[in-house]
């Protein structure tokens, strides 16, 4: 009935949308199948994109030519650059989004993308032939053929929603779940597991007393996510901060016996870093308050997201407890908080391309791999879309390395170490985080993406220009001598030692008190060429001067390890014939089938002596 496609993407969340956009922009015919066309790119949880480590991922997606950054810029109601008091690797962009606009913008961008078709239906299984996927079948009984299938099912696979002792099937509040795919994949030999996540109640802003809360404003000079020519927002909304108190905790405690978390009804593992409010009061019982972020859901709606109050307690307990929060005395609930359990497939069953090891041309991305977060999902969708396209075009795969991108860390962690709780990115997971900064995501990735036909030539030209200008500025600063008379008035104001003889301006910039950006704006330096450069270039130059030592050191470390990444292991390598390996290593290596010595060395239970044994056998 429907025509054949190159790629079918199952699911229209953040992973599915990025996968669709990437494959289509690489020239493939893509069909996005979603259960509900009205909920494409729905933000199921908090109305925000980015944050620490996640913001870097959005910048990377954008640098590769994905859409998340553009959509986030266009639909932001507030922008903040987090961690500005730390080094540049920690600066992390984050926006509050207008939930409706965000979903709408995504859908419009996909509609405007060549090669994308849509179909509203529930996929109930894949079509498979001789170990290769050849399409999907749907609940309407139709079969659609394709060369590749990308599953991005989110929380929908056998989704089970819990509120107190009540539970019912669903993929999201008020949406049906999806059955059939898990069972089929198990039959095909896949391992699966259960995970759990939760979300807080939504409330009516008109019922809140904001005067009793702290206001949290956006940045004075808001920046943006996309390296393309989107605009930074001009008008912003505020968030508010309030706290729970012992009264809130007492009421919550009374309801614990009816909590599905503690009564054992919920079997899935939840994330430790995103606990429900009842878990917080249980695990940290000595704390008499917890922070609550009161976040607007959009420009025009009165709906409020109560961040920090995720709960699956019975409705009556939720309402009674939330009323105890300062400013919430007269609160009206729009929607209750709930927990949701869903199926996932341990990601060690995937290759670095996110293709499954068991079934050719079948790709998994997003929560189906045990991750959490829009950004993590989007990143996987992007890479699955790219690699499905490359494989169909019979081109070499694209795998980002751990020193190239957080996306590389994310995927390598997943497929090498697996995950026991919903996996979220943290900067501490990246051993080369000084290299993986939000400011240089384009320098790291745009050319790579352009080479495979995704990031546009315009994007690449911008990156080349950025680097060229930065180099010119660095050269200028390196050659510019400055006399004590010229420098000292400024140095004195900046609280740093005066100079006695002419020095190169470059050398002054290594002082912590001296910032090139401030220098640029200072009247003392008006006559210099620094102010010919825009802020982004000045910042690049500054980072390269101030942090050169650290950056070089980390590069050296990465190069050392990369030699091991360069030694490839064939996927049908038989570890069982190597009697010199420890039995644990043999087991783990056979299971995970690392693609390189580097990856093998990151598998827990594989010791340095096992690696030596492998190296010998790989010989030449």
């Amino acid at each position: 009935m429907l025509s054949d496609y190159d790629v079918i993407v199952v699911g229209g969340g953040h992973a599915g949308c990025e996968a669709t956009a990437a494959a289509a922009n690489m020239g493939l015919k893509v069909l996005l199948v979603t259960m509900n066309m009205n909920t494409i790119a729905q933000m199921s949880c908090n109305p925000a994109m980015g944050g620490v480590a996640k913001g870097q991922i959005v910048r990377e997606i954008d640098a590769m030519g994905g859409y998340s950054g553009i959509v986030s810029d266009k639909t932001a109601v507030q922008f903040r650059m987090l961690n500005m008091s730390k080094g540049p690797a920690m600066w992390s962009p984050r926006v509050q989004s207008d939930r409706w606009l965000f979903a709408q913008e995504w859908r419009l961008m996909l509609e405007a993308t060549k090669n994308v078709d849509f179909w509203q239906d529930t996929v109930v299984g894949i079509l498979e032939e001789k170990g290769k996927v050849i399409g999907v079948k749907t609940s309407l009984g139709i079969e659609i053929n394709s060369k590749a299938v990308i599953l991005t099912n989110g929380t929908f696979l056998n989704g089970l929603i819990h509120i107190g002792d009540k539970n019912f099937g669903g993929g999201r509040a008020a949406e049906r779940n999806s059955t059939g795919i898990t069972e089929q994949l198990i039959n095909l030999g896949f391992d699966h597991g259960r995970m759990k996540t939760g979300t807080p109640p939504r409330v009516d802003a008109r019922s809140l007393d904001f005067s009793k809360m702290e206001e949290q404003k956006g940045d004075l000079k808001p920046s943006k996510f996309s390296f393309s020519n989107t605009e930074a927002i001009k008008k912003q909304l505020s968030c508010h901060i309030t706290y729970t108190n012992p009264n809130t905790h007492d009421i919550l405690r009374e309801g614990l016996d009816r909590s599905p978390m503690f009564s054992g009804i919920i079997e899935g593992t939840g994330p430790r870093y995103c606990p429900s409010i009842e878990e917080k009061i249980e695990r940290f019982s000595d704390r008499d308050r917890h922070q609550i972020f009161v976040e607007p859901e959009g420009w025009n709606t009165v709906e409020i997201y109560v961040n920090g109050f995720s709960t699956s307690l019975p409705l009556d307990v939720q309402l009674k407890a939330i009323k105890q929060i300062q400013g919430f005395e007269n609160v009206k609930l729009f929607r209750p908080g709930y927990a949701i359990e869903y199926d996932y497939f341990p990601p060690t069953q995937l290759k670095h391309t996110l293709e499954t090891k068991l079934i050719d041309n079948l790709y998994f991305a997003g929560q189906i791999n045990g991750t959490t977060g829009y950004e993590e999902a989007g990143a996987q969708g992007l890479m699955a879309g790219i690699n499905a396209a490359l494989k169909i075009k019979e081109k070499e795969e694209l795998v980002l390395q751990r020193d190239q991108a957080y996306i590389g860390v994310l995927i390598d962690d997943l497929i090498t170490k697996g995950t026991k709780e919903p996996y979220r990115m943290f900067t501490s997971r990246a051993e080369y985080r000084i290299l993986l900064r939000q400011d240089n995501a384009d320098i790291r990735l745009t050319e790579l993406s352009n080479n495979i036909g995704l990031a546009s030539n315009e994007r690449l030209a911008k990156v080349v220009e950025k680097q060229k200008q930065t180099d010119t500025l660095l050269e200028y600063l390196g050659n510019l001598s400055i006399s004590p008379e010229e420098a000292n008035p400024y140095l004195e104001k900046a609280n740093t030692a005066p100079i006695k003889q002419k020095v190169k301006l470059y050398s002054l910039l290594s002082r912590p008190q001296i910032s090139l950006n401030k220098l640029k704006d200072s009247a003392d330096f008006e006559s210099y060429d620094i102010n010919l450069y825009d802020d982004e270039i000045v910042q690049q130059a500054e980072i390269r001067i101030k942090y050169q030592g650290y950056i070089e050191r980390e590069k050296e470390m990465a190069d050392k390890i990369n030699r091991l990444e360069g030694i490839k292991i064939h996927s049908d390598f038989d570890y069982h014939k190597l009697k010199s390996l420890s039995s644990e290593a043999r087991e783990k290596l056979s299971n995970i089938k690392p693609s390189s010595i580097g990856q093998a060395s990151r598998i827990s239970g594989v010791s340095p002596s096992d690696i030596s044994v492998l190296l010998i056998h790989l010989g030449r």
Binding site: G87, Y273, F293, T427, S609, S612
Partner: protein, 456 residues
């Protein structure tokens, strides 16, 4: 193929004192490193497969005279540049040389690594390589056994505890980075400094324990000192003859620089500079006092031998004072009154353990042995707390110590946590090489999640 850029080194002869000790280095920097330590021909100009005689010099001191064999890539066992030092087989000399090599930038070879490189560079066939793989596996088992033994001594536990402290420290730093937006209290910089100081103290005491760890492995360094002709050589011979299990000179080699070792009660006693003793017996009034003081410095046990027939009490007390001044508290001093068969002497209480012997007639030796055993058991007890006896471990500790120094420097200069974390990770990685645990991000995150309420 994988290009090895590291230069590796290892002692190629079996442990213990032999006539000759062989140390091998292989890698791109092998010749340059050897040249740095070698006083003789400029090795950069040397031909492949050539032999050179000269001095081994480190920190301005001549450690030994050595015969050096040089092989240029690819004409060597590993196919890389290789230098082999043939030194005298004293464990002291060998460990000095290893320390020098490590400091010059070589690293310790893993088990079988020379052979692995040989295979990688096309010097071996697959069957040979298989054998090496087995060797590595069994060597790692041996290493494991050693680690298990050390665990009983508390070393491994200590490192684990240290690593946990470091992880908790890392967690405090990472907390600010990944969770700066959260409602948690961040660590006070002074607290962080105190923590680094604690860690540094433990690591440095472990590094210091390397010496006592070595003692257990190589024997307690024991010195016999005294005026010429008091019978030092006779005593030495008496002690060594008494003991059937002498680990000693191999026939046909000179006695020079071979240390005599005596086994007693499960402990080894290594007599320092025994050649010197024999020399001074033969060549009257030779080097004398200077040599004695050098010996005192290296010894853990000092046997001060005097001729009971020829004692001036006042002079003896002076001499004892002189020796005591040069000893630190952990060193043991025993006064031996020799030739007691010829004289009886009552010195009264002079504040040190005194034993009467006759080296010649072999009398009183059992008293001496009892005294030595007692000292050894005290020593064992003290050392069994926590000791490092493995050069690889020492190396890892030293590296993490350096990393922690950089962390301290960073704290003092108020650099932000992301840069501090680089060095903390380095230290964690180094300690992980001892404990075999390298995967740290999960440990760090685990520490954060268990201690702080994170998550909106």
């Amino acid at each position: 193929m994988w290009k090895n850029e590291d230069t590796i080194c290892a002692i190629a002869t079996p442990g213990g004192s032999g006539a000759i000790g062989l140390v091998r280095i292989s890698g791109t920097a092998a010749i340059a490193i050897a040249n740095d330590l070698f006083e003789g021909k400029d090795l950069n100009k040397a031909k492949t497969q050539s032999l050179h005689f000269g001095n081994l010099k480190y920190k301005g001191e001549v450690i030994d005279e050595v015969l050096l064999s040089l092989f240029k890539a690819p004409h060597s066992y590993t196919g890389e540049d290789v230098v082999e030092f043939s030194c005298h087989g004293s464990s002291y000399i060998l460990s000095e040389l290893m320390e020098a090599l490590l400091e010059k930038g070589a690293r310790l070879a893993e088990g079988g690594e020379f052979t692995m490189r040989a295979f990688a560079n096309g010097k071996m066939d697959l069957t040979q390589a298989e054998a090496v793989a087995d060797l590595i596996a069994s060597e790692s088992k041996a290493a494991h056994d050693i680690a298990m033994n050390q665990m009983k001594g508390g070393f491994s536990k200590e490192i684990q505890a240290l690593r946990q402290q470091l992880i908790d420290f890392a967690a405090l730093v990472e907390l600010e980075l990944d969770f700066g937006e959260e409602d948690v209290e961040f660590a006070d910089r002074d607290d962080l400094k105190a923590l680094v100081n604690n860690l540094t103290e433990v690591i440095q005491s472990l590094i210091a324990s390397f010496k006592s760890g070595n003692v257990i492995k190589n024997g307690i360094p024991t010195a016999i000192v005294g005026a010429p002709n008091v019978g030092k050589s006779t005593l030495l011979n008496a002690l060594l003859k008494e003991d059937k299990a002498i680990v000693s000179n191999i026939a046909g080699t000179t006695r020079d620089s071979i240390e005599d070792v005596m086994q007693l009660g499960g402990m080894s006693f290594r007599f320092i500079d025994t050649a010197g003793i024999r020399e001074t017996e033969d060549v009257v009034e030779s080097i004398g006092i200077q040599r004695t003081f050098e010996k005192l410095e290296k010894a853990q046990i000092v046997l001060l031998l005097v001729d009971a027939n020829n004692v001036d009490r006042k002079k003896l007390l002076q001499e004892i004072e002189e020796v005591k001044k040069r000893l630190h508290t952990e060193q043991e001093l025993l006064l031996l009154l020799n030739k007691s068969d010829l004289a009886t002497l009552d010195l009264g209480d002079i504040g040190i353990t005194t034993i009467s012997i006759s080296a010649l007639k072999q009398e009183g030796l059992s008293d001496l042995e009892e005294a030595l055993k007692k000292i050894a058991s005290r020593f064992l007890q003290a050392a069994s707390g926590v000791t490092v006896s493995n050069v690889r471990h020492l190396n890892a500790l030293k590296k993490s110590d350096e990393a922690l120094q950089r962390v301290m420097h960073g704290l003092e200069n108020q650099i932000t946590g992301d840069f501090l974390a680089m060095d903390i990770r380095q230290a964690l990685h180094d300690l992980g090489e001892i404990t075999g645990k390298i995967d740290m991000d999960r440990d760090i995150l685990g520490s954060i999640f268990s201690r702080f309420c994170i998550g909106k």
